[in-house]
């Protein structure tokens, strides 16, 4: 039993890392109804800028963060000005296509600035297993103490960061005036314009916030796997999370990430042996595919409202 729990918790914590990436997608989808294909590239760009600023410009770590953030915001504002502005009121598919183009551009830009080397990223977060028996908390299962050995301090901190990020975003979207305007823009560009919501400002804000989220995700993933081109592919990992949680729900991104993370690990351990192992890599996609059949809008996604 405690082995099961260990796998489960390990999976949940790994899932949080997916959630971090998925959040960026959700933000842009909520505010423009567009799947931002470039989110993975933005994660890569952010992480590479962070280490590049330290390696090449010699910035200390505390200065590298605001520097990267500023660059991400600049990228967001420029994206609005150059890429999105001519596409106001165009069908979502055009906007989607333009984000594919943006992906290649951002990837290239990042490597142009900072080179193609693989960098390690050191955040000073301890990355070591925490052995807990929970005994001192008085938690046990049917008298048997639970021993968790594979829980990692880094994962715990990642989970904590994700939690804070989600809380901030949820408050921002649900309560603030700008958050409400963001949701309004996602629903209907024209109507938003007609009530005086400045679409351009709103989009610049959204892309900047998405840049911020990409930076956080980039730092966490970079610290985990090193900063390399493969970072852009974490975006693909976020896909099943989005399908499960819903493309337009911040909460969905988190819960989806947790479920996908846990499913992957459990499947690897309990189903994997029948397939000769290694199913962790594709199991999430299969799960997402099956889920699409049952609930295409995701667990927490907005239902398409059609009046007949």
């Amino acid at each position: 039993m405690s082995f099961f729990l260990e796998v489960l918790i390990g999976g949940l914590l790994a899932g949080i890392m997916y959630s971090l990436v998925a959040l960026g997608f959700v933000l842009i989808y909520k505010a423009s109804g567009v799947f931002n294909f470039a989110q993975g590239a933005m994660v890569f760009f952010a992480a590479l800028t962070f280490v590049g600023a330290q390696e090449k410009l010699g910035l200390p770590i505390w200065a590298a963060f605001p520097f990267s953030l500023a660059l991400m915001i600049l990228l967001g504002v420029l994206t609005e000005k150059v890429v999105l502005r001519p596409l106001v009121n165009q069908p979502p598919i055009s906007l989607f296509m333009v984000t594919i183009g943006l992906t290649f551009f951002v990837e290239g830009l990042a490597q142009l600035f900072w080179g193609t080397k693989v960098y390690p990223l050191e955040l000073g977060i301890p990355d070591e297993p925490i052995v807990t028996t929970f005994e001192n908390w008085g938690i046990s299962l049917a008298g048997v103490p639970i021993v968790l050995q594979e829980i990692n301090s880094f994962d715990l901190i990642a989970a904590f960061v994700a939690g804070i990020l989600v809380a901030i975003l949820a408050i921002f979207f649900q309560i603030t005036r700008v958050g409400r305007a963001l949701r309004a823009v996602a629903d209907d560009h024209q109507a938003a314009l007609s009530v005086g919501i400045p679409l351009k400002t709103i989009w610049a804000i959204v892309w900047s916030v998405a840049g911020f989220v990409a930076l956080i995700a980039g730092l966490m993933w970079g610290a985990r796997n090193g900063v390399q081109f493969a970072l852009t592919f974490v975006a693909l990992k976020a896909l099943p999370v989005l399908i499960l949680g819903g493309f337009d729900s911040v909460l969905g991104a988190i819960v989806g990430g947790l479920i996908i993370g846990a499913l992957e690990k459990l499947a690897e351990v309990y189903i994997g042996p029948f397939f000769g192992g290694g199913i962790e890599i594709w199991f999430a996609y299969v799960a997402a595919l099956l889920f699409l059949l049952i609930r295409p809008e995701g667990l927490f996604g907005d239902k398409q409202i059609d009046r007949v």
Binding site: V88, N89, R177, R180, A181, R183, A184, A186, D187, D188, H189, Q190, A191, A192, L193, S194, V195, G196, I197, P198, L199, D302, I305, R307
Partner: protein, 274 residues
């Protein structure tokens, strides 16, 4: 031009504007009209006559549809406004309620209303008071304040759209086809509210309608558009009694029923080309 309309300062002055979409499609061919403060002015005409485009030229929603005012000018309170963004216009008190309601379906009714106040940076207390005021005009919305707007009825959505515009504290509302797709009883209800808002809140309305009968009943002055031109204008009472208007737009005729063929012939010969 407008001799028998209501008195008051000219709030909106559209002077001989031409609107072209996508640099090629000429939609308005020289429209001039005036709206006096505190009045309801109706724009009438068939599909494609240019009513919506005229409203969008004023609110500058044209911009996002690749349309542009290429000739003439639009003045609001004496200032030229053709180059202002929709957001700047809302700040000045010009709000458009678009054809087909355009509520935000996933936002609740109350959130929809609140988005209308986006351009006014006011405290929560003021917003609450304004919400209550909107609810006094549309009591039905208060009952449904927590439901997603997408799930409300067509009439309620029209109310949400008008209420949302009210939250911007407008001087002038550009109201596009409020009667579209609504039951006759609801149409009356909506127009009654428009009239009340006009009298109590002193909001002026520029109203585009196909329902000529109702529109002339509730407006002070009317313009009739055809093919991007104004072919006739006059106070609503006069227009409602004009024999051509009766025949073409109200389906009434003084000479009794004519065969379809005669009607067409008559119409062809007597076009109101300016």
């Amino acid at each position: 031009m407008q001799q028998d309309g209501p008195k008051g300062n000219v709030l909106l002055d559209i002077n001989n504007i031409e609107v072209i979409y996508d640099h090629v499609i000429l939609v308005l061919r020289g429209i001039s009209l005036q709206l006096r403060e505190g009045s309801i002015v109706a724009l009438l005409g068939a599909n494609g006559a240019g009513k919506t485009t005229t409203l969008k030229a004023v609110s500058n929603l044209l911009q996002s549809e690749r349309g542009e005012v290429t000739k003439g000018y639009i003045a609001y309170k004496g200032d030229r406004i053709e180059r202002l963004t929709p957001s700047a216009l809302v700040k000045r008190g010009v709000v458009q309620v678009m054809e087909g309601r355009h509520c935000f379906p996933h936002l609740t009714v109350e959130e929809n209303l609140l988005t209308g106040a986006y351009t006014r940076k006011v405290s929560g207390r003021v917003l609450k008071a304004d919400l209550e005021k909107v609810y006094t005009y549309f009591p039905r919305l208060k009952d449904r304040r927590r439901s997603q707007a997408g799930y409300t009825s067509g009439g309620e959505q029209q109310m949400v759209a008008i209420g949302r515009a009210l939250m911007a504290m407008p001087t002038m509302i550009l109201l596009d086809e409020p009667s579209m797709g609504l039951a006759p009883q609801l149409v009356e209800e909506i127009f009654e509210i428009v009239k009340t808002l006009n009298q109590r809140e002193k909001v002026s309305f520029l109203l585009a309608e196909q329902n000529t009968n109702v529109a002339l009943g509730y407006s002070d002055y009317g313009y009739i558009l055809e093919n991007g031109r104004i072919v006739m204008d006059g106070s609503s009472a006069v227009l409602a009694n004009n024999s051509d208007v009766k025949e073409f737009y109200l389906g009434l005729s003084t000479t009794g029923r004519k065969s379809y063929r005669d009607g067409k012939h008559y119409r062809r010969r007597k076009r109101w080309l300016a």
